[in-house]
Amino acid sequence: MTRLLVVLPFVGALMALLPRQAGLRRAVLVAVAALHAAGTLICFIVRPEIRAGAWLGLDEAGLLVLGISSALFLAVSIYTVVYLQRQEMPGLHLHEHNEPERVFCGCLLAFLGTMTLVTASRHLGLLWVAMEATTLVSAPLIYFHRTQRSLEATWKYVLICSVGIALALLGTVFLAAGIPAHASPADLTMERLVGSGGMVQVEWLKISFICFAVGYGTKVGLAPLHTWLPDAHSEAPSLVSALLSGALLNCAALGVMRAHQVCVAHGLAAFSQDILMVLGIGSVIVAAIFIIGQSDYKRMLAYSSVEHMGIVMLGVGLGGGAVSGALLHAVNHSVTKAALFMAAGTILETCRSKQVQDVRGLRRRLPWTAGIWLAGFFAITGTPPFGAFISEFTIAARALASGRWLISVLYLGGLAAIVAGMARIVIEMTGGVPGQGMAHGRVREPLALVVPPLVLLGVTLVLGVYVPAGLWEFLQRAAAALGGGQ
């Protein structure tokens, strides 16, 4: 089953490369996405057991990330169809020469495949290969609109992430070096690393975790390693930004969590937790600084991704009940951020500018999108009854209950500051009347651009008032492996 899930997207990618006519290709895209989502759902229901020594397998954490990615991809694929159609229409599209669509679709599907591989791989080496692959496959996606800016973004993305991930490889090597020679060091499967605890020598493990944290942390976008993130997210087509922010970051976070898992198994929980907490809270602060006075709404969303990834890492670092809260927060952040990016895409297509001061009066021009934009703002800032509130509350609760006053203050203060920064931007955009030089009048919003984000927001809304017992236990089990649990 797992293998099938991994292979399916790649097959789809090949199929997407072949056909001439666009319709068929888009059909393939959606179909594969749907199949993949269905498969993931089945995995949730009948958990395929992980065979001993297997390199592929879905434990709770992996399955969670996979679920997020797959669901997002389904939503995005529907959005993509209309997006590409609009790209063709003469009046509507912004950019003259886009990348050939077949490459785009192919890379999209391959991207899904590599992400699946990341979530499913039990072997750290394999994990690394897959992680690097996600970077390389997603590079053409960012360069979809062939503009200078997007090219620059792509270059930074590829270079920074590759270097970062190279450090992760270094970490992998150190980890392997830590395993005594007689015990076949290169076999870096999780069950072996976690199962028989205390096998890796502590010094090697420490160094390798630091390398992992910095390496994969670069891809997670933890400050100050986040520098590629705002560029890539703001220059990529919005649906790609949605995937990057909603799915890819979680995959990278999974990488960090794996390393953390090993540390926990070796009784180094305190060590890794310290590092994660510092990186996490740092990201929240940095994101707050850059969101206040931000003039580009897509960059604003990107920085908020930095913030939320920081929150997730902080939660994992805090341990205890916060870990399950952090995982829940990953879910909430992904769906909300994806919805926001989709809305941002529609806004960008309509108003032709990423600058906040060029966008006014959305409530009149794009009522539905404006609604999504506002609701998404409330959801992402952790306003009840949206899900982010409860997960952020869980993390705050742990931070305060364990008497980490400084972190609590920075955390709550950072959140408040971010609200201040985003509120100004969002209210100015939705409210008001379009100024001179801006088009007035209501614009038609295709259903496929509105329904997916609405569905995603619906999900986080439900998670805000009702976390099914099954899901919560699932998260608890995932958290237990990460040194969490009540």
Binding site: V129, R146, A166
Partner: protein, 220 residues
Amino acid sequence: MQVIDAIMVGMVLTCLLLLGSSRLGAYIRIVAVQGIVAAVVPLVAHGHGIGLQAAVVSAVTLVMKGIVFPRLLFRALYAAGVRREIEVYVSFPVSVLAGVLMLAGSCWLCGRLPLGAEVSGLAVPVAMFTVLTGLFLIVSRVLALTQVVGYLTLENGIYLLSVVLVPQQLFVIEMGILLDAFAAVFVMGIAIFHISREFDHIDTQAMDELADWRASKETE
């Protein structure tokens, strides 16, 4: 082990050359040489004789790093049509000096690591040194192409580390890593091509459109 030590010395020399050299073509060639040198290591590391797997690995690595990557880079170079001196943030003498310091630093670092007896005393520090050199090159050189070279150096260093630290490798992983490195160089090459077309140079200094401090100034 005399052989491996000699190889290590060679590595060090290549690194210092990279830090010191100022012409693009030479640059690429040096890194190719370094790749070849690194590729030889599995054959001579760990006293026990040459296993088939090690042979294959080193062969593929040799082909890749010795032939394919330089080809790709040169293609990008010609496409970009630049035959210029390398531009640097840190001048060459200083870089070489820094290189020496980094070597010392990596020796000190490896002194603190619990190294097994079977590894040659020089191997690990040199590998570390190569890694650091790669990072240094990426940070301190201006042209996009030179950054790719730096990335390759980093790759070489890690490869070396993995060879000397981890006795028996896993074939698949090695191949995967190589594949990724290949893809990375490939993608970067394409990117460089596009960059040279869009910006009609491959100077990354000019690529600071996307920044926040200027954006915020505009709003002022």
